[in-house]
Symmetry: C2
Subunit: 370 residues, 2 copies
């Protein structure tokens, strides 16, 4: 199954003409999952090779405007553009994010009289009190939904923190299990771990022929993990005739943070193929970064190293860092310096460092059998 990840906005705080606000799309088999949706995401999508109408799930890491303000408009435009071709409309768009997100959509879509041609459901992650103890707005008066639901709003779940696993269980389907975890930021912020299921190895066709089994439904049963009894009475176990399993890929996408909260996230992200982490400011601005709940390349590298990721992708750069194509000799705030800072922190660890740019697409290759 082909998988890739496209960055639609790699800037922090606000969108600018050279760097969009936060948004990235994970694509698997043509289906698109959107992570964060800053203002202008719909326009970035139009400029990319992706189709907004293919988005089936949306994940909002936290409720800051530069990760959220594009969401109502995106939903409206997807709806407008599915009008002509009703077969293209999504069954139901599942939206995951912190408590308060349901109310945000209810009010923004409701007050603007926005009609949608498809249903949506908001599944809210319940923050824990220690996640940002000082912020008054966490109180229920602000985040609880009030007023009538949108006509297309379907009931959504409230997802509570699971203390024993130190994470949130978002959902599991045939291909993936998706979990959330807590980050330290000024408001409740979450990371997401997308774990592809392991897949059975190839059938050893030579061996099957020797056993007298011809290609057909029995092959499918063996591949699905079921034993098969031959006419001779011999029972063939899947483990006998299957090559080693292909381990599922693991992708971890973190929202804004100055660190992860607790040990659970590191275990969850252990061995990730790709860890997407913010690096808002360079190491020399560490104090300011932490004050604002953000990270430096060195801090991101420490997380990558702690969870033994293969590749660290940095994004969410302060707008002071221009994309490399627009940089001029002698520019103080230099992207290559950010990369060097992460690499310095990761030397000899084997972790590859990538700086995301708007419209960059990373292929996520299949893993090799163990």
């Amino acid at each position: 199954m082909a998988m890739d990840m496209t960055f639609l906005g790699t800037g922090s705080a606000y969108p600018s003409p050279h760097r969009g606000a936060s948004a990235l799309v994970l694509r698997a088999d043509g289906e698109c999952w959107l992570f964060d949706c800053g203002e202008g995401t719909q326009t970035q999508l139009m400029k990319s090779q992706l189709r907004a109408g293919r988005i089936t799930k949306i994940f909002i890491s936290h409720l800051h405007g530069d990760h959220l303000f594009g969401l109502p408009g995106l939903l409206c435009t997807v709806s407008l553009n599915t009008n002509a071709d009703l077969q293209q409309k999504p069954n139901c768009v599942d939206i995951y994010g912190p408590r308060g997100l349901r109310h945000f959509l209810r009010v923004t879509l409701g007050l603007t009289g926005s009609q949608l041609l498809f249903p949506y459901a908001v599944h809210e992650l319940e923050p824990t009190p220690d996640q940002c103890p000082e912020e008054g707005w966490l109180n229920l008066e602000v985040t609880a939904e009030r007023g009538p639901p949108h006509p297309q709003e379907q009931p959504g779940r409230t997802i509570s923190f699971d203390v024993s696993s130190d994470c949130y269980f978002l959902f599991e389907d045939k291909k993936f299990a998706v979990k959330g975890f807590r980050l330290v930021h000024r408001i409740p912020s979450f990371g997401f771990c997308i774990q592809e299921h392991d897949r059975p190895g190839r059938l050893k066709t030579e061996l099957l022929k020797e056993l007298g089994l011809k290609p057909g439904p029995l092959y499918g049963r063996l591949k699905a993990g079921e034993p098969v009894t031959l006419e001779s009475g011999r029972v063939v176990l899947p483990t006998e005739v299957l090559e080693e399993a292909i381990p599922g890929r693991k992708l971890c996408i973190l929202g804004d943070c100055s660190s992860v909260l607790g040990e659970g996230p590191l275990k969850l992200c252990n061995g990730a193929d790709i860890l997407v982490h913010e690096a808002t400011l360079g190491n020399e601005h560490r104090e300011k970064a932490v004050d604002h709940g953000h990270s430096t390349p060195e801090m991101a590298a420490a997380v990558a190293q702690a969870c033994c990721t293969r590749r660290l992708v940095l994004h969410h750069f302060s707008q002071r860092y221009k994309p490399s194509t627009l940089q001029k000799e002698g520019d103080e705030d230099n992207m290559s310096e950010l990369k060097r800072q992460a690499e310095d922190a990761l030397q000899d660890s084997g972790v590859e460092v990538t700086l995301a740019e708007d419209f960059m697409t990373l292929a996520i290759p299949l893993r090799r059998p163990r």
Copy 2:
């Protein structure tokens, strides 16, 4: 006083890479007033020669997302960028728009924990029941503000419809009187009439010298409309020594509509220097346009003619109409065709027709004395 108008977004329904969502800036003496604020307006502002920090008043014609979804982000970004230089921050941003706007900002800014470094006040125009009788969302349950106000929210006015003048009195200051008026659209939509005050004509300096008056404070008093008594006892009246007054300019900016509501708006807009009117679809799509509460060039021209405007500026084009610079020979949906349709309807009327494009700036010259 130099005045001009810059179009930041001339597209309808949603922003696209070639046409932003609705927004235009009226600039007078360096102060900027923003009319509508679709998603992406802040980025369009960055691309223009205007400064977002100079915006002191914002007018929202109606609450559809393509006129509104950029507002929370714009306010946040203005705030972020005034951080460094506190002297630049606005005293208080006055925001005018339909009932529900205060609640929209309260929820979008509140849930996102958006801090602002300047206060704002929302002054709500109270729609009339006949403005859009069929829409359920007009009910108070949806539009009334609930939840705590933003720490920077100042008390705003509720502006009721004035039956006798068929309009809304927004405010009057030393330079301008601004009124609102009702339009026919799917949700309550308003137009705005900005009337500059007449200014006294020039002093007839030759005559003043003959009368024995030397340049000084007495000149100022005459110009301000006060009579002056000479040492001889002779009373000099301002009318004797002033050239004819310079009539104030009048600018009318209409929100989405299929027509104005009643006769009041036509009287109010009578003789406007510029009438900005939507033309979402060409004449051949009139039925669809009206169904959606929109206008064609011919319909816009009829309004321009009815109020004897000097110049009709069309905007809010369906995204099917590409800007003229991107049009190719043989393209069906042609901008020049829209212009021709308006001009055909206005032939011999002397009304000049202009099609707005993103980043187009129109100078608004002083009027000549009557």
